[in-house]
């Protein structure tokens, strides 16, 4: 090869935009199966059914002779549809993301395709991010595909476009965070099933474990007569991804109407000072200068970033021992 050729070639390489190779291949492979469009179709059908059933259930508000068909009553229907749809989508993220992401590195190990990747010029970070990106891309498609249904709630009323967009973006962020945590677990296990079990375990700890922990502290407060134990322990709720979505999606719980949303009790968990039976009353919640969702999202991002740093080190070669 002549020096000229090498110079030209190097220049071409440095200026050409190249998509992450792992992301490119994974997307191609994942979307090539018949499963992807089938899941998307079933998912949208289920979401439509949820929207319809919620509408049917909440329409009774309008039949209530003591609650005339005011704009406020219609707004409760719109809000109800939005929150039930979002709740289902959030549950789906918690259910699907660990399953699609936990095997990303362990699966490469099992198929014995990790080593050929590691000896290329790809950085471990690129391998990991490409994998996470591809694993969450389909989930992101599911979330975005639900936007038309969500905006139906906006057309009915009771929820703003900004709240819908903020909720969807928060859900996407939560999906990425869980994907990062699951992928990090995947770098430590040799087999996919182990990674999947550990990932679901972690999600369960974050979702339920944090609430149980605070509940246990509250009981201890009751039993021992101590004060503030539960309040101090509430800081772990910042690591609960369901509560982040709740805080963004739900402005204020209101137990006075029959249109109870799944987020209402969760909102009270975030801010127990709120009076759900007197939402407009004087005791209308603590005056939080920093919203819960921002500190919670920040905590989760820090947790996921830390996990990614550790996972990248784990993938870096040469290593001291076989991985």
């Amino acid at each position: 090869m002549s020096p000229d050729t090498k110079t030209r070639s190097t220049k071409t390489r440095s200026t050409e935009f190249m998509i992450n190779p792992v992301l490119d291949r994974e997307l191609r492979v994942r979307m090539r199966t018949k499963r992807a469009p089938a899941i998307l179709t079933i998912y949208l059908l289920v979401l439509s059914a949820i929207a319809f059933l919620t509408f049917q259930a909440l329409s009774s508000i309008l039949d209530d002779p003591f609650n005339e068909a005011s704009a406020l009553a219609v707004a409760q229907i719109g809000r109800g549809i939005f929150e039930w749809l979002l709740f289902f989508m959030t549950m789906l993220v918690f259910f699907l993301v660990p399953g699609t992401t936990a095997g990303v590195i362990a699966g490469e190990r099992e198929r014995q395709t990790l080593v050929p990747l590691q000896v290329t010029l790809l950085k471990p970070r690129s391998i990991l991010l490409g994998k996470i990106g591809a694993a969450t891309a389909f989930i992101a498609l599911l979330i975005v595909a639900a936007l038309p249904l969500l905006t139906m709630a906006f057309l009915i009323g009771g929820v703003t476009v900004w709240r819908i967009l903020a909720s969807v973006l928060t859900l996407l962020a939560v999906a990425l965070i869980i994907a990062a945590l699951s992928a990090a677990i995947s770098t430590f296990t040799k087999r996919t099933p182990t990674a999947v079990v550990l990932s679901y375990g972690l999600v369960l700890v974050l979702l339920a474990g944090t609430m149980v922990f605070v509940g246990a502290l509250a009981i201890m407060d009751e039993v021992t007569g101590s004060e503030g134990l539960a309040d101090a322990g509430r800081v772990v709720l910042h690591l609960n991804p369901l509560l982040v979505v709740t805080d963004v999606a739900e402005s204020r719980p209101n137990f006075n109407t029959s249109a109870i949303s799944p987020f209402d009790p969760l909102k009270l968990l975030i801010d127990p000072d709120l009076d759900a039976f007197d939402p407009g009353g004087a005791d209308a919640g603590s005056d939080r200068r920093v919203p819960f969702w921002s500190t919670s999202l920040l905590s989760l991002v820090v947790l996921a970033s830390g996990a990614l740093v550790v996972a990248t080190r784990r993938l870096t070669t040469p290593a001291a021992s076989d991985r």
């Binding site: 090869m1 050729t5 090498k6 070639s9 190097t10 071409t12 390489r13 050409e16 190249m18 190779p21 490119d24 291949r25 191609r28 492979v29 090539r32 199966t33 490469e108 198929r111 014995q112 395709t113 990790l114 080593v115 050929p116 990747l117 590691q118 000896v119 290329t120 010029l121 790809l122 870096t316 070669t317 040469p318 290593a319 001291a320 021992s321 076989d322």
Partner: protein, 355 residues
Amino acid sequence: MTEAVPPPPTPQPPSSQPPSSQPPSTPVAGPPTTGPPIAVPPPLEPFTPGGTTALGGEHTGLGYSPAMAVRTLGLTKRYGPLVAIDDLNLNVPAGAVFGLIGPNGAGKTTTFSILATLLEPTSGSVEVAGHDPANEAQQVRGRIGFMPDSLGVYDNLRVEEYLEFFASCYRIPRTEWPSLVDGLLELVDLTGKRQDWVDSLSRGMKQRLSLARTLVHDPDVLILDEPASGLDPRARIELRELLGELQTMGKTIIISSHILAELEEICTDVAILEAGRLLAQGPPRAILEQLGGTRTIQVRLGDGSTRDYTVGSDAEQQALLKRLIVEEELPVTEFTEIGAGLEQLFMQITEGRVQ
């Protein structure tokens, strides 16, 4: 890691003769190795500027020694109390087909993992294509093609896409992919399988595709761990032809196998490993001669009878042939060396030490 990423070499689709141009039975003649043969591990030789390698090539400190594609000095790898590689001194001449021979657990795969930038050595120095795999991993990765002992292929990916994927992993511009894939598929005789799914290929074809994958960035050194394991005889012959082809293209090939017959016809140099220690190194015949080893010559006469003779060197072999034909005037119809290969060499060297 803050190391600079070297510009990857421009891939050059192989344009030399197709594999079929070389008859299967033709032993591959490698370029002559420099310097005297080494039958035992060379004495510890520090990588000092201006020194001379054991095989005659000059090296400059830890810099690149053109004569040696791969060198290790006092290479040791321990896993806790287990010593996987013990004070290994390898010298792989550039352009050689270097066979790493040893029983299972001898340390072949560990050695390859270190050379291929996957594993850190516990101690010792390593130089692959002029770079240290532990500290200059990216530079080494741009110069080597590594094929592990397991076939890792993806589902739902076509042969063409598989090679393009690895081309992108080596940052080869997209515009170069078509000609690159053409050349590689022609080299490994898979042109007709371009649009086939990778997981539908036979094991031999997957093996050849894996080999093509190691070549996408036109590496100088190929490190192939047990490439022929699990292949049927035909696939083995095809692989052997392919390796011969690669050698004529100037690649240095380091290959391991515990089936010695596989390496017999292709290796210009061998290193024999046992329990992590290097027992011998150099051209097989030179090792055999240096160790005072013998080989058996079978002579078939015109009446169909055979006679066996034992010789110790090439000179003795020539003298025997001359004696039989010229002096004794025997009707020699066949003069065959039997049991003179790596198998015998291996047995002689590891005698009493193989578990």
